[in-house]
């Protein structure tokens, strides 16, 4: 790991100042992706701005028909939260399946979505549930937030403060993990909301994506049978030593059916 200046702001304002003032600063939430990246010397930030000292960034609260989860809320906290389990059990289950227990004790929802790893779990939930990402500058709709592989709509000095999830009627997440890394080879999050059905796929492509054909089919018949074979083409999907694009495309179908059945 290259060395850096370590900053630990106590407030959002201090964090904004730290990241704005840094030559090539990097925000750190739980650090579960960033620290391994730094250890591999794949990044060399001048400053590391640790958001762990900002107390009011963590927490889960119900706001009307939405669940608002602070950006620094750990995966373990989401998984164990009675509030989350009652409102969106699929989200608690998703959080409970991220990484391993020690990772869940450190990793955060804000860090996960800001990093937008193509194989991360949370982006699928954010998109499928039609969540809103709340930042220091604005509110960003899920569909606008994830813009590409490791790319989001965030400005460099913009910090995610919370994610607001509308509470769906039904939802479930089904993941096929990479046997080695345990990241998602394919993860499908299905949500039936007042506004319709949304299906988001992670792991399969360079960035989380929705499947309008599934959504339309499920809107009229919310059952696993409504998920047709071959809807998601292998074109543009990821391919690696564990799973080719054709297999990933197939797994999208299987995981979508399983998610619908579990919802």
């Amino acid at each position: 790991m290259y060395n850096f200046e370590y900053r630990k702001p106590a407030s959002i304002d201090e964090a904004k100042a730290a990241i704005t003032g840094a030559e090539d600063g990097k925000l750190m939430a739980g650090g579960m992706t960033l620290i391994p990246t730094l250890k591999q010397r794949l990044a060399q930030p001048s400053d590391l701005v640790d958001l762990g000292g900002i107390g009011d960034l963590a927490g889960i609260r119900r706001e009307g028909n939405a669940l608002v989860i602070g950006a620094m809320t750990r995966h373990a906290a989401v998984a164990a939260s009675a509030e989350v389990k009652a409102a969106i059990p699929a989200l608690a289950a998703l959080a409970d399946g991220i990484g391993d227990p020690a990772v869940r004790n450190r990793g955060t929802i804000g860090g996960s979505i800001a990093n937008n790893d193509p194989a991360a779990d949370y982006p699928s939930a954010v998109v499928a549930l039609g969540a809103t990402v709340i930042t220091t500058k604005r509110s960003i709709a899920a569909d606008d937030f994830f813009t590409g592989m490791f790319e989001t709509a965030l400005d460099e000095d913009e910090i995610v403060t919370a994610v607001s999830f509308p509470i769906p009627e039904r939802a479930a997440y089904s993941k096929f993990p990479n046997p080695a890394s345990r990241y998602a080879i394919v993860g499908v999050f299905v949500a039936k909301t007042a506004g319709g059905v949304r299906v988001a796929v992670t792991g399969a492509g360079p960035c989380v994506f929705r499947v309008p054909e599934y959504e339309a089919a499920l809107a009229s018949n919310f059952s696993a049978d409504a998920i047709a074979d071959g809807v998601v083409s292998e074109d543009g999907l990821n391919s690696d030593i564990h799973a080719g694009a054709d297999y990933r495309a197939h797994l999208v179908t299987v995981m979508a059916r399983r998610a619908v059945a579990a919802a």
Partner: protein, 791 residues
């Protein structure tokens, strides 16, 4: 002493330190004034080195020195410990394996330069600043391409990248058996390349005392004396009395820590140059490209049978990957530890094996848990399963029909070995019963109703432990002895220290060897300490590999204990004024047979060191004995494994529903430890069958170079196991033991793959290569489903 002696489930003595974090591994050792080494490794699979510019690195804070090949010009390369002689008495090609690359790198990870700095971070920072000017050369990683015309050549002296072309058996005789066969089953298969991945990454510390000229090497090794011999005599020319090699607690080995590695020589040389201790610890990414890999065979096997399924002959043609250089024991693995096992548990009368060893631009390949024997067992147990299907026989019947029978021992196989004892029906029938083999079809049907594909697989393995004897191995090219040494030091108050040449890196010798002492001397195991891993404390040793520790090291211990008892009887006879011939030793007490005269062991020990009433004219004082034991033969553990799997056809995911292991390890010292060895071996074998694969890109980059991509078995990948032990005692060592370390890894891969092929029987396949990943299985199911739909 039945609660502590042979056969007792004694809890491990070593665990007191390990469960409290008090183990002392090499990286835990910090010497005063210590420096750190970081190694600059080749990022290319094949390249020439045009120049190395270390000036920027040398200018960085804390950097002490940068070493390149020129600093090692006075020394030889890393030696290979086994000369294999191929067809027509052609010796293998043995290219130099330099400590640091000399003008050319041959695999990703090949060490090029060493940066030594005041601390680890400074060394690593500076290693990045060493500028190496490479010109890339075409690389070859695939053995079939490497042996084809026009391939890039890894070593100029190895034409066609051939290290050797070796054979065992009379091809004409075997071909004749095939000509007369009613049926021949043929199978082509790959034994996938594995990365051993002991959880403790390798580490080494060199230290040098210029007042005495003594070197100390701390190293994570399975056999410190072998390192002392190889490095001292063959590489650095340091005499043994000036070189102490100490392997403290070692966090697993599985073969990968047998070999003499460049880093050991580097820190030893550097410590003398700097007159400061030099430490190197691998990180995991570095381990993936610098620890010797395992397996990596491509094989065509053919089995000839009569009309009733009786085996008439077997022949195999194997390409074995050596990697870029010959690691310490690499040439022996696909030959003497592989082809000699091809009889398995069967009476196959004639066998022919041809093995071509091939250089490629990959990490060197050497022994990994089982070493040659898993490859032999896999091809044999796979081709037999395929043969059974082709012959319309059950996989059990075809094996049973060809078993060597208990009354046929000692049994001379056609591939050089003489099995001393065994009872293959015993482990087979026990395993079938435990696995409820007969009830399987009902379970298959029940699974089918749930939409799952269930399969069952069997493997009847044999293995050969404790390579032996030295003179025979020597005639076959071994450049080392294969005996073991033990010293038993009885202290004046009767406590015992055993100095053994075996080395424990998880096997529990500190407990099991103490149990042997407790059994023989009738003393509490708390009175016994097992000392291992330090060349300054132990007379000599060949270390621990090939499941040899108890069968060879334990035998040496027994012989040393017998010498102690023999001397003790003479001392006791003197004390009791009796003839030594009349003195018996039972449960820790010397007695004059037929009288009530007796003297306890402790009193004899004290007398030996306080010889006031002692036969000084006939006997030396003291009670310390050393024995070297050279085994007369290999030992031959054997057993039957049954694996039952369930496949989810929608995803191709295989779940192991149950796994039973029935083993014959001969006599067992500590069943708890033996079961643990089996469990661990099974998971390594299951890992090979389902999960693990060292995958190279065509240009020689290791694609599975970390745990992100190399799939280590986790707790939720495997089930709990059932195991049992049948016993036929080894006939030629004093404990009647055979060795248990590798069996699990040898017998499980074919059992798993046989089960998967069985589960997929309706999909038109007769084989699937390891690892049988979900993606591979899904493709088979998908292709089969498409074919069915088209019909």
């Amino acid at each position: 002493m039945t609660d502590q002696g042979i056969g007792a489930r004694v809890l491990r003595k070593e665990d007191f330190r390990f469960v409290r974090g008090r183990g002392k591994y090499t990286d835990d050792i910090v010497l005063p004034n210590q420096t750190w080494a970081a190694i600059v490794r080749s990022p290319h699979a094949h390249a020439t080195i045009n120049g190395i510019d270390a000036s920027a690195a040398l200018a960085m804070p804390g950097v002490v020195r940068v070493l390149t090949a020129a600093d090692f010009a006075a020394f030889g390369g890393l030696p290979c410990g086994w000369l294999v002689t191929g067809k027509n008495q052609t010796p293998m090609v043995e290219p130099k394996h330099p400590i640091l690359a000399e003008g050319r790198v041959r695999h990703v990870g090949d060490p090029v330069a060493v940066v030594i700095a005041e601390n680890r971070i400074a060394a690593r920072d500076a290693a990045e600043a060493v500028e190496v000017d490479y010109s890339e050369l075409p690389a070859v990683v695939d053995m079939r391409k490497a042996t084809a015309a026009g391939s890039p050549t890894v070593h100029d002296e190895a034409a066609g990248n051939l290290c050797y072309d070796w054979e065992l058996g009379d091809k004409a005789v075997v071909d004749a058996a095939f000509a007369g066969a009613a049926h021949v089953t043929t199978l082509e298969l790959v034994n996938n390349r594995l990365v051993p991945n002991a959880m403790e990454p390798r580490a080494a510390i060199g230290d040098y005392d210029n007042s005495t000229g003594e070197h100390t090497l701390y190293t994570s090794s399975q056999n410190p004396h072998v390192i002392r011999l190889l490095m001292g005599a063959f590489v650095l020319q340091i005499p043994e009395h000036k070189l102490r090699v100490y392997a403290p607690d070692v966090g697993g080995g599985f073969g990968s820590k047998i070999y003499h590695y460049a880093e050991e020589a580097i820190v030893t040389v550097a410590a003398k140059l700097l007159e400061r201790p030099v430490k190197w610890t691998s990180d995991r990414s570095e381990a993936f490209i610098s620890d010797a890999h395992g397996r990596d065979h491509i094989t065509r096997v053919e089995l000839a049978m009569d009309a009733n399924g009786k085996f008439l002959g077997l022949r195999e043609f194997t390409l074995a990957n050596m990697g870029a250089y010959l690691s310490t024991f690499a040439p022996s693995i696909p030959t003497y530890l592989h082809a000699t096992l091809l009889a398995g548990q069967y009476t196959t009368p004639v066998i022919y094996s041809e093995v071509k060893a091939v250089f490629t631009n990959t990490v060197p390949v050497d022994a990994y848990r089982g070493a040659g024997r898993p490859e032999a067992t896999y091809l044999l147990e796979r081709v037999i399963d395929k043969a059974a299907k082709e012959m319309g026989m059950s996989p059990v019947d075809i094996r049973r029909k060809n078993f060597i029978q208990p009354d046929q021992f000692p049994y001379q196989t056609p591939v050089a070995l003489v099995y001393d004892t065994g009872n293959y029906e015993a482990t087979l029938s026990t395993a079938l019963k435990a696995a409820d083999w007969d009830g399987f079809e009902a379970r298959r049907a029940a699974a089918a109703r749930e939409g799952k594909l269930r399969g069952i697989g069997i493997c009847c393995y044999i293995e050969a432990c404790g390579i032996a004897p030295s003179n025979v191995a020597g005639a076959l090219g071994a450049r080392a002895g294969l005996y073991e040494c033990a010293t038993v030091r009885v202290n004046p108050t009767g406590s015992v220290q055993v100095m053994t040449g075996s080395h424990s890196h998880g096997q529990g010798h500190e407990t099991t060897f103490a149990q042997v002492v407790a059994e023989k001397l009738g003393i509490d195991i708390g009175q016994v300490d097992i000392v291992h891993g330090d060349t300054n404390k132990i007379p000599f040793g060949m270390g621990t590999y090939g499941s040899r520790s108890l069968a060879v090291g334990g035998a040496a211990l027994v012989n040393a204990l017998d010498k102690v008892i023999s001397k003790g009887r003479k001392i006791a006879a003197h004390l009791m004024e009796a003839s030594a011939d009349d003195v018996v030793f039972e449960n820790g007490i010397f007695k004059v047979a037929g009288t009530d005269k007796e003297v306890p062991f402790g009193a004899v020990a004290l007398t030996a060191y306080v010889p006031h009433n002692y036969p000084l004219e006939e006997l030396e004082p003291g009670l310390e004995e050393t024995a070297f034991y050279d085994p007369k033969n290999f030992t031959f553990p054997a057993g039957t494994y049954v694996c039952e799997v369930e496949i989810d056809p929608a995803t191709g995911v295989t779940r192991i529903v149950s796994f039973h292991a029935s083993d014959d390890f001969g006599n067992v010292i500590n069943p708890m430890i033996v079961e643990g060895q089996v469990h661990g071996g099974l998971v390594q074998g299951i890992g090979q069958a389902l999960l693990e694969n060292a995958s190279y890109s065509e240009d020689g980059q290791l694609l599975s170079g970390s745990y992100m991509d190399y799939c280590m078995p986790r707790a939720d990948d495997v089930p709990s196991f059932t195991v049992d032990h049948q016993v036929t005692a080894c006939t030629h060592n004093p404990l009647g033991v055979k060795g248990c370390g590798e069996a699990g890894a040898i017998g499980s891969p074919p059992a798993v793959i046989n089960a998967i092929v069985d589960a997929l029987k309706d999909y038109g396949i007769s084989h699937i290569d390891m690892p049988a990943t979900p993606a591979k299985i899904w493709h088979i199911i998908n292709a089969g489903s498409v074919a069915q739909a088209a019909e």
